[in-house]
Amino acid sequence: MIMKKIVLILIAGTLLVFASCKKDFLELSPYDQVPQDQAITDEAGMVAAVNGMYAQLRSNNLYGRSLPLYGDLMADNAFISTTNSNRYLIEYNYTFISTNAFSSATWASAYNAILRANNIINASVTSPNANQLKGEALTIRALMYFNLVNWYAKPYTVDPNAEGVPLVLTYDALLKPSRAKVSEVYAQIDKDLADAFASLTSTSKNSSFVTKYVARALQARVALFKGDWAAAKTFAQDVVANGGYTLTNASNLVNYWRNAGPVTTKVETIFEITSDAVNNNGSNSLSYFYDQAGYGDAIGADDLYNKYADTDARIGLFITGTRAGLTVRIVNKYPNTNSAADKDDTKVIRYAEVLLTLAEAAYRTNDEVNARLYLNQLAQKRDPSFTGYISTGAALLDDIILERRKELAFEGMRYLDLQRLGQDVTRVNINNNYVGVTPLLIAASNFRRVFPIPQDELDANPNIGQNNGY
């Protein structure tokens, strides 16, 4: 009897002991991941988060491939060979609908980069470098909104009151944001870049990090896209006067592009997205899509190629080869597909663009002398035997736009320029660049000149409306 009692007491005791300590041993946190609420509490956490933000820009849906590729493929600079891997044909042929994979992924990836930037901007860290780090995040947020508003909404220069894209400035997974007007998105971009400029320093480790003059150069681009010529001129002039950037010599241009890594010399590159031997997009990279050692699907258009003089150093950025039985102009701006040492970076903004912006802004503010000066500064650097543009009036503007096309080819700017200028995409079919099904003229008024809002967004967010035509 006593034995039984003892046993029962023991059992009851054991159960109680187990029961009483439950809460403590159920609290198991992950080892190798940092919970969100503990992430950005100090400068080290903030540096890690900033790196994460830059890493997202390398996504093949953003600067890693899609963004620079759309800009030339959907315009008149590049075409897809009939021998291809079946990628980007929908964008190239303008047959996309709201479920289109690449344009949907670009939307999601860009907003993910914005989320990463938001978490940095909204962090309450007050260390010495916090301002610099927040400035970097503000710049990247602005850059992402600039891309979103240009790809998913009508150009500012066409209709600033058109529906833009949702402005999401804080993280909330359950948010269902509605679209802000194009002008409101630009206002946020202006504000972010101005704030960034105020908090950034002018030094960085290399050209893959944001500095004061990265923000300034982007301000010039954004002003140009708004048609705010005076501001564009001011910003661009500031970069030219105080940025410390230079152009490379014609003889060195091909080598400049052959260098796969970021630079510290302030030659040409203002800001780029870095890929290295370990961290890269592999077969999903931009270079893999241009390089014949990779997919090599995208080829430079002969129409563009024919616009370079034989003495122009930029003609060295093409290799004449064969694909699908045609003699073709293979793009040589991203030649490091096979390099085991380093992979090609993507240039976001270069000094040449700032000069061209300054030239255009000068022209638009009735200062043709300076317009020609800055234009020729670039053109004659690229082609030392070129005597310089002497055109005036509308012809001068055409020359500036042509020089932009030639200089910034395969860097994703061409389509955006046609957008802001309200121009049709006109593809000139030389040497069978374009096969039967490819549209040769996409009018500025075509509804597909802006991407559809992705179906994923429409499905999950009742507050958002689709672009016209889709």
């Binding site: 034995m3 039984k4 046993v7 059992i11 159960l15 187990f18 029961a19 439950k22 809460k23 159920l26 609290e27 946190s29 992950p30 080892y31 190798d32 991941q33 940092v34 919970p35 969100q36 609420d37 992430a39 956490g45 540096v47 890690a48 988060a49 900033v50 790196n51 994460g52 933000m53 830059y54 890493a55 949907s104 939307w107 999601a108 993910n112 914005i114 989320l115 990463r116 938001n118 978490n119 894209v165 949702p166 999401v168 993280y171 997974a173 359950l174 948010l175 269902k176 944001p177 290295d276 370990v278 961290n279 096979n338 085991a340 994923d456 967004e457 499905d459 999950a460 967010n461 958002i464």
Partner: protein, 1057 residues
Amino acid sequence: MKKTFLGLALLFFASAILAQTRTITGKVTDDKGSPLSNISVIVKGTSIGATTNATGNYSLTVPLSAKTLTFSGINFTDTDAEITGDVVNLTLETTGKVLDEVVVTGVGTATSKKKVAFSVETVSAKDLPKVPQGSIDQALVGKIPGAQISSISGQPGQQAAILLRGINTLSTTQPMILVDGVQVNATSNRNGTLSSDDNQGRGTASIISTNQSSRLSDLDLSNIERVEVIQGAAAATIYGAQGANGVIQIFTKKGSRSGKTTVTFNSRVSIDNVLKGNMKFAEKHFYETDAEGYIISNANIRLAPSTSTGQTPQPKLPSSLVNAVNDKPYRERLYDNLGNVFRDNATTFNNSVTVSGGREKFDYALTLSHLNQESILNGDYERTNVSLNLGTELFKNFNIRSNTQVVYSDNTTGGITGQNNIFSPLNSTFLTRRYLDISQKDSIGNYVTHPEVGSTSTTAFYTRQFRQWRAENTRIIQNFNLNYKPVHFLEIDYKIGIDNYKYLYSDLIRYQQNTLTPTLGITPLNGRLTYDNFNETFTNSLLSVYLRANFEKDLNIHIPVNSTTQISYDYRKNRYKNYTTQGTGFTPFPPNNLNGTTAAIAEANQDFVTFGYLANQRFEYGELLGVSAGVRVDYSSAFGVGSDPFVFPRADAYIRLSQLFDSKAIREWKVRGAWGKAGIQPGAYDRFITLLSANFGSTGFLALNTTANNPFLDVEVSSEAEAGTDIAFRLGEGSSFQNMRFSATYWDKRSESVIRAIELAPSTGVVSIITNAIDLKSNGFQASLDADLINRNKFSWDFGIRFGASKSIVDRISNGKDIALGSTGAGQFVLKQGASIGAFFGFRPLRSVTETTGKGERYIPDSEIQNYEIVNGMVVHKTNRTVRFTTELEPIGDPNPKFNMTFLNNFTLFENLSIGTQLDWVYGNKVYNQTRQWLYRDYLSADFDEPVTINGETKAFVNFYNSLYHTNNANTHFVEDGSFLRLRELTISYNFTRLLNLRFVNNAQLSLSGRNLFTITDYSGMDPEAAAALNNPLRRGVDVFSFPNFRTYQLGLTLGF
């Protein structure tokens, strides 16, 4: 003490003086005359009794007044016998093994199957096949009515896919595995390149490999005594938040306390050959040829391999495929690459020795076994198991048992497949042109990377030369069980198990830049060595208290009721660690180790703790009926905010109708019903909003996952009701149809809050959130029949049927939106409300030229109709000869079989010779033959030889078939009937103990068996069964260069001393 003694003495005298006694002896035998041990013999109406010994004899002192003896034993009908003299001999009849076994699983305490209110399936060691793989999952294929257990890969060490009863979850269908009452680890580790294809929408953690090494396969089949299976929540509630997928409980061999030592030696050797099924390639081609009909290259010269690299140029294709016809005979020598890549007569040796025995109060069993299995494709699998089971009664009613299993295995068979992996040997073998030889070597003796110029994939032979996978696993499972019955109404049972394994996986890619094709090969070409180190410790501790009361005896209440109360506390902890070390870039010469390489490291750790309480009350009213009800409460580190416990209730009842009437024909008839809930836990850290870490240049970074974790995550809850009946009957008198058992169960279940990532507005920055998003619904029917059709001395025939049919559908998705899964080239699936889980979705060829889309728009405008015609039911462009497809996804096939069924036969001739067969039939399931679709891309499928009539011309038009490839989009053309009938097992065994006539040999048996001897199927690929991702409910029935099963012939010898 004194008082007691006095009382005893008085009693003794009283007995001696007042009650006259006599001694009865006798022998109990079965219907074949064999002695039966452990039969209890009780004077009816008293507690005076004895049990029979090993020779079937008993001796019992009974009062003179005793009139009747009751004989009872497990598997035998209780029989009364009049005491007619001093000797009472008896022949006991078997009742039917299905109904009279004692089961534990799901009930918590050993209970006769007659009194269990839900279906528990049992398979004893003698019914387990003697498969060379020697793993329990393989052994259960076809044996469990209602379950879908399929051998989905011929890779040694990879387990069968187990789907017990309907689909409860979208994560894994793997049931919980218990060994002697204690849960053990039954996950799988990677044994090949990683594939993110099966990222089951649950964030980034579930990236898994398509080649797996199973921890279930570690367990030694020769050490298994018996297996019990419960299939759903109705029976598994007592296992709480981890029981929803059902439970497989394994009982290991124990020694007998008879005082005798038994030694059993088992040796088996077998040879395996791949099952090629109906796999065929095109016999003709359409490439450009020279005047003599030899294929030419783009340079217009006859194809020939380079004398140095051994590579052959690509063939010249016709300038346009539109008019190409696949009708040219090959003049080249053709190679059977698929035949060459598989090993002929892969050999397996499997030896085991068991020493067991014991005395009163002590037993032991020691099993040593060794398996050495050559893969039919690549490498081999070697496993050594040592198992020791010790039991003793330390003092009266206090039993302690220790069960130790030590396993070491070494597996080099991994890394053989992986869809869309250009280095996958099977993939590249299938897709090599027929006139090319994958076993070709170059001029310096290396295998060619690929026999064709321009191919970036590598052949199986090249891969074997330059890449090596190895998985070494060391594992210790230690269970202790303490059981104490201080008084007859109380039992305390404590079990603890610690299960630890260390799994070291290595993947070596050799230096390849000194080959004749230094830019081709397996990347990285400068070599890489990866060590992936897994260390996992699982602890399970279970304390149970049972209170038993007989109302008449213990409580003096005069109704024949027995009560059993169970209270348990159950604690589980899992600790998982993984370190990966990877070095890239070797020197061109050996040794190929990490020294001198560019090294990268990574780690992943995971802790998980859960515990629960169980209270269960059971009442039995005599032999007639019983009811029980209980509740389990679970706590877990994986549950969401507040760690609120989850409550799983259960209830069941049975009635034995056979107790209400007396029938010679119906010996047992039970009707039963059960209801219960059980759960599946969320992933260990799914509730934490965490940041993923990765590298940016030389520094690390942190960022939010694009799939957000959810702090409010709940357990997945499956609630199930089942109803069934068990009948034991006989037909007529004599030696036929005497022992028939039939069981049938209908079940219906609903799984709520199933976890899945649901889409969010991408503009928030995250694309989805892991949440309890989905409800699933399933129901089914299962039945089994076992019959001793003939039972004579010289000949007996046992027959069995196992049948199961079930259907699982998506009942509700929280946002109502379809969820698309999979990708082109690997099968496409959609989770859609009301649709079958895992159904294929895809496109189909237009059936009519005027067909419209869902929006009512015409696919083909009137102006173009004249360009199209119907060919074989498909709309085909008359001049391009291409098939026109729909553009809207629709369900195109269901991998779930309409039913699966197994036929078991066992014949015994002259007692010594027995023949057993198992025939498995899976009917009505569809397989998506993605392999064939890839073959269409490369013009290699045998279908290309078939002429079709397009626009009045009947020819084997290449463009017609090639257009069906449809850029790898899933489409109806590649959905095939996957039904098959397979002779799973045929065993002929001969017992030659008597022939030997050696005193010390008490069992000698020789057996010859075959596995997968034939398959009848319409499926055009290699093996319709090998078409699924392991235990993934969403990736069943997709054949993408799957590793087929094999045919085995085995010779076995068993000797017992």
